[in-house]
């Protein structure tokens, strides 16, 4: 009936193999290759990307075929996600069997451990995402880490890192998932500690590794618990072991699973996800992980590593669904953790000076959104948020890297070394702004379609409190991203960002006649010519438009003329705040902020494009035709025939996967409008709040039927609800911007007279003074008056409450210990210990001559004793 699998789907297991092989090759022969192994990494990721796109395309065809429609899909916006098709759902589409192939790896004690592939919509989406992001990041790295002393090793590790994520995504069973999970853990350690000569870096790497390991224990425990709970059932019904993803999913939904086993298994697994995905108590490693090179942070925080935890929950969703009774409650473990994470980390982002740390906390917060969505039953929006978030967060990180690479001398400190870079780096700034707006969730950009859906669905599924928390989080997101944008790209250049200007100022002040007028005219960042800029920016910003082209025009002059500015090595060394081991660029061309090279800009631009458009792959707002994700990624919660389903996993071929769906009362439609209709005949109800009466995930499947995915519900999109979140985001953006601008203009007013009065030759002094004033204002106004109290509160909670609990435990322990010491230890135990010590000492002294230190005597004792004991044994036994 459906055998429309294709080569790409059948051989999707090649996708992680290719980078794995590339890793080995890079390690072995990388150093001898013309590009030191980087070409292998890039080529392998490109090959993986091609295979993933092929797999995605064939998966779409497969879903279409399963729906009874074989019309050729038209490739749409992104990698074939643009197919417009709705008819497939009208007659209750069957559950589309994932493409599962497995081979036995080893067997032990009756349990067989396989490896294989489990390709469904989620896996296909993640494969594409990981391969795509990894490819772009590697291309970016070609330039970013050029000349690094461990260039080859960097590419080897980052390739293996992607391979680990791909292995995990493909994983057919939990063992394979653990394998990929651990590969990533190891590689993250290697990559974060890439510049291990700096002790802070190696400490951060250790911290990341160990923190994640704390959670990993949960993964092992959870896997074991679920295995022992599920194995009998899966062996009987599916013929697979209790490690398989499909087996676990079906078991969890079968209604025969023990609640206790499910609950503890799910809690243990979620602890692993807390560690990996940086959720609340274990989020501390993520900001520290910024010690690694920027491409690593970007890869880590967009599509791999931290998403692994979210992915695991999405993958084993039936387990969590049942364990936490997601459809029936209004608060559970996952959403509480996620809600705390969203707010705590968003607040912390306000007080960071390091641009990457702002992004890191932002990632933590966004991961909280994903977890919140999953915890509240909004599976699809959460998965979609993984998709969109990867693009814009990767773009943001790469922009930050671009800024530090070309604009701020490897510094990531926004307050000291950035500011005003929009003029110097227009393309980077444009991409950053697009990604920022996407992250904030502004309407047509990708973040809106995913984040708003999460918020909407969370409320729809009965988790109202968390909906408001999420809305508050959206407000904060808009706020801190605006602050970061402002500090980095607008305002006055500071530190390294203004370095060229400072040089020129020094030149002008010392009266270097020939060059100074020329330099002044060209590199005029805070020069009198530039005094008008703030006003311009202000006007543009308050009008709400973030234009790139005007900035670009203006930057041309500055850029070109700075290139031939004579370098001053001594001053350069003095002012450079880099301090990084790899700061080995030619001084001549890096003495001031300028736009990054093409290899950096191209990935950034591609990502910005996706940040702009990725949302349209599931633009619920525009009606069903746009909901490609729901159609192709979300499994259809339809009970399958037991025999067909049971045959499929082992058959490793997909003829049996047709899975004639059981036409029973439990047929569930995934319709945009009606969620989980329980009647066989679908009735289009306008998002009615009917009871979840039956269906996969609500009631046990009928005899002979088997469920692989719960019938998640979908909220009806309403512009009125979207408007609320848009307004909140808008307030956040505009409010934060106005705070910045107001302060900025105030500073200008107080400075207008000053800059007018002073000679151009002395503007350097002004600049320094301005910088100080700016910092002062930020401290006084933005942070202290708006964000600081709350953020400090969050910090306080971090420091005092959590620490307090720990300290309290410690103090309690110490007091108990003191009492025990005085009363029990000293009198009872000590007496015994002293007595036995004295006895041991006496014996020891008596036996001291035996310990002659001579091997021969020891040998004699050994053999003699053996002989004596043998005689004793013989005598006793005979």
């Amino acid at each position: 009936m459906l055998g429309a699998t294709g080569w790409f789907l059948d051989n999707a297991w090649l996708i992680p193999i290719i980078p794995g092989v590339a890793f080995a090759l890079i390690i072995l022969i990388g150093k001898r290759l013309p590009m030191q192994g980087s070409e292998l990494g890039v080529a392998s990721m490109a090959a993986s990307l091609v295979l993933s796109v092929g797999a995605a395309y064939q998966w779409i065809q497969r879903v279409d075929d399963a729906g009874g429609h074989s019309e050729a899909g038209t490739l749409g916006l992104i990698a074939g996600f643009g197919r417009s098709l709705t008819a497939a759902q009208e007659e209750g589409a069957a559950y589309v069997q994932p493409v599962i192939r497995s081979w036995t790896w080893w067997e032990s004690g009756g349990a067989s451990f396989g490896y294989g592939q489990h390709i469904d919509g989620l896996a296909v989406m993640m494969l594409f995402l990981v391969a795509f992001i990894s490819l772009l990041v590697q291309i970016y790295s070609l330039e970013y880490v050029r000349g690094d002393r461990r260039y080859t090793h960097f590419f080897a590790a980052i390739t293996l890192f992607s391979a680990g994520m791909l292995v995990m995504v493909l994983g057919e069973n939990m063992i394979q998932v653990i394998l990929g999970w651990e590969i990533m853990g190891l590689c993250s350690f290697l990559l974060i500690g890439h510049w291990w000569e700096d002790e802070a870096n190696s400490t951060a790497a250790l911290k990341a590794f160990l923190t994640v390991r704390v959670g990993d224990i949960g993964l092992l425990v959870g896997t074991s618990v679920l295995f022992f709970g599920a194995n009998d059932w899966t062996q009987e019904n599916l013929g697979t072991s209790g490690f398989t993803i499909q087996g676990l999913s079906a078991w969890a939904l079968s209604g025969e699973a023990s609640e206790t086993v499910l609950l503890w298994g799910a809690v243990a697994l979620f602890i692993a996800c807390i560690g990996k995905s940086g959720q609340f108590p274990l989020h501390t490693w993520l900001p520290d992980a910024m010690a690694g090179p920027t491409p690593v942070s970007s890869l880590l925080h967009s599509s791999t590593m931290v998403v692994a935890g979210v992915f695991l929950v999405a993958r084993l969703y039936p387990v969590f669904w049942e364990a936490f009774s997601i459809p029936d409650v209004s608060v559970n473990f996952i959403v509480v953790i996620a809600g705390i994470t969203i707010v705590i980390s968003a607040l912390l982002a306000f007080v960071q000076d390091d641009i990457k740390k702002v992004l890191a906390y932002s990632t933590v917060s966004q991961l909280g959104y994903m977890m919140l969505g999953l915890g509240a039953g909004a599976w699809l929006p959460a998965v979609f948020h993984i998709f969109t978030h990867a693009f814009f967060k990767c773009c943001l990180f790469l922009c930050a890297g671009s800024v530090s690479h070309s604009g701020s001398h490897h510094s990531f400190d926004m307050k000291r070394d950035m500011g005003g870079l929009a003029k110097k780096m227009p393309i980077t700034a444009g991409a950053w702004i697009v990604a920022t707006l996407a992250l904030a969730g502004v309407f047509p950009l990708s973040g809106f379609f995913s984040k708003d859906e999460i918020i909407d669905n969370v409320g729809h599924n009965g988790y109202e409190v968390f909906m408001y928390i999420a809305l508050f989080g959206a407000f904060l997101t808009a706020g801190y991203m605006t602050r970061a944008t402002y500090l980095t790209f607008f305002g006055e250049p500071r530190g390294a960002a203004a370095h060229a200007s400072a040089l020129e100022a020094a030149g002008a002040a010392s009266g270097r006649a020939g060059a100074s007028p020329q330099n002044d005219a060209s590199g005029h960042v805070p020069s009198p010519g530039g005094a008008a800029d703030p006003a311009l920016e202000e006007g543009r910003a308050s009008a709400g438009q973030v234009g790139v082209s005007p900035l670009e025009d203006r930057a041309v002059g500055g850029l070109s003329s700075e290139e031939d500015d004579p370098a001053d090595p001594a001053l350069h060394g003095e002012l450079a705040t880099a301090g990084l081991a790899h700061a080995d660029h030619g001084d001549a061309e890096h003495h001031g902020p300028h736009e990054s090279p093409k290899l950096i800009l191209i990935p950034v631009c591609i990502l910005a494009f996706f940040a702009l458009t990725a949302g349209f792959t599931n633009a619920v707002a525009f009606g069903e035709d746009w909901e490609q994700f729901k159609e192709y990624v979300e499994p259809i919660a339809e009970a399958s025939d037991l025999e067909a389903a049971g045959a499929a996993p082992r058959a490793s071929d997909l003829e049996a996967a047709g899975a004639a769906s059981v036409r029973s009362g439990s047929s569930i439609l995934n319709d945009a409008s009606s969620h989980s209709v329980s009647s066989p005949a679908p009735v289009q109800e306008e998002g009615g709040e009917e009871e979840h009466a039956s269906g996969c995930g609500y009631t046990a499947p009928e005899e002979g039927g088997i469920c692989f995915f719960p019938a998640v519900s979908h909220a009806e999109f309403e512009w009125s609800k979207a408007a609320l979140s848009l307004i909140v985001v808008g307030i956040g953006l505009v409010g934060s911007w106005f705070v910045c601008v107001a302060l900025y203009s105030k500073r200008s007013r107080s400075l207008v007279g000053l800059t007018q009065r002073l000679a151009p030759a002395r503007w350097g002094y002004n600049f320094l003074w301005n910088k100080y004033y700016l910092d002062h204002l930020y401290e006084q106004r933005i942070i202290r008056s708006i964000a600081h109290p709350i953020a400090r509160g969050a910090n306080w909670v971090n420091q005092n409450v959590i620490d307090g609990v720990v300290n309290g435990l410690g103090i309690g322990g110490r007091k108990t210990g003191g009492w025990v010491y005085r009363n029990i230890d000293q009198r009872v135990v000590d007496g015994a210990v002293n007595a036995s010590g004295a006895a041991a000492g006496g014996t020891g002294h008596a036996l001291q001559p035996v310990q002659s230190g001579k091997v021969n005597q020891y040998g004699a004792l050994l053999f003699g004793a053996a002989a004596v004991f043998a005689i004793v044994l013989v005598i006793v036994n005979v």
Partner: protein
């Protein structure tokens, strides 16, 4: 001890005779190994013991083990010993103080052990005979055993050898 070494009626006399000759030579050589005053001589006596051992393996119908014994012990290990002796500058001639001051302690210990073991052996196997030396274990049978039921210890041995090789290099390296 009467029926042990040589005389037997219903058993293969030739085998027993060969065994007895070899055993006497081996015991004598082994005694020289532990008593000679010349280190190089000790190594050469050891060669005789090990070669005799290989011959005993042949009598026990263990051809493959016997060949391995010759290759590994007589070939490799003895060369290693000789190198070790030379590199540690032992006197080639006789040496006075090869024994410990307390060497005599060894004699009672060894005799005690011999007594216990000999008694146990004769008590257990004193009247047991091996009817006929079996056709012998073919190399194929041994490889079947090694590579299927005993694969895990085999792999472990490979790691032991690897570790020993690395360890020996690290220890003996001059730096």
């Amino acid at each position: 001890m009467v029926p042990v070494l040589l005389a037997a009626s219903e058993v293969n006399v030739a085998l027993n005779v060969a065994f007895g000759v070899l055993a006497v030579v081996m015991i004598g050589a082994a005694l020289f190994v532990v008593t000679t005053k010349n280190v190089v001589h000790a190594a050469l006596w050891l060669v005789i013991v090990l070669s005799g051992m290989a011959a005993q393996y042949l009598l026990a119908a263990a051809e493959f083990v016997a060949v391995s014994q010759v290759l590994v012990y007589v070939g490799a290990v003895m060369v290693l010993f000789l190198f070790g002796i030379m590199l540690t500058r032992a006197q080639i001639g006789a040496e006075g103080n090869l024994n410990n001051p307390g060497w005599a302690l060894g004699i009672p210990v060894a005799l005690l052990l011999l007594g216990v073991m000999g008694w146990a052996i004769i008590d257990l196997f004193g009247d047991q005979t091996i009817e006929e030396a079996p056709g012998g274990a073919s190399t194929q049978a041994i490889s079947d055993q090694i590579l299927s039921p005993y694969l895990a210890p085999f792999l472990a041995i490979t790691f032991v050898l690897l570790a020993a090789a690395i360890g020996a290099i690290v220890l003996a390296r001059k730096d």
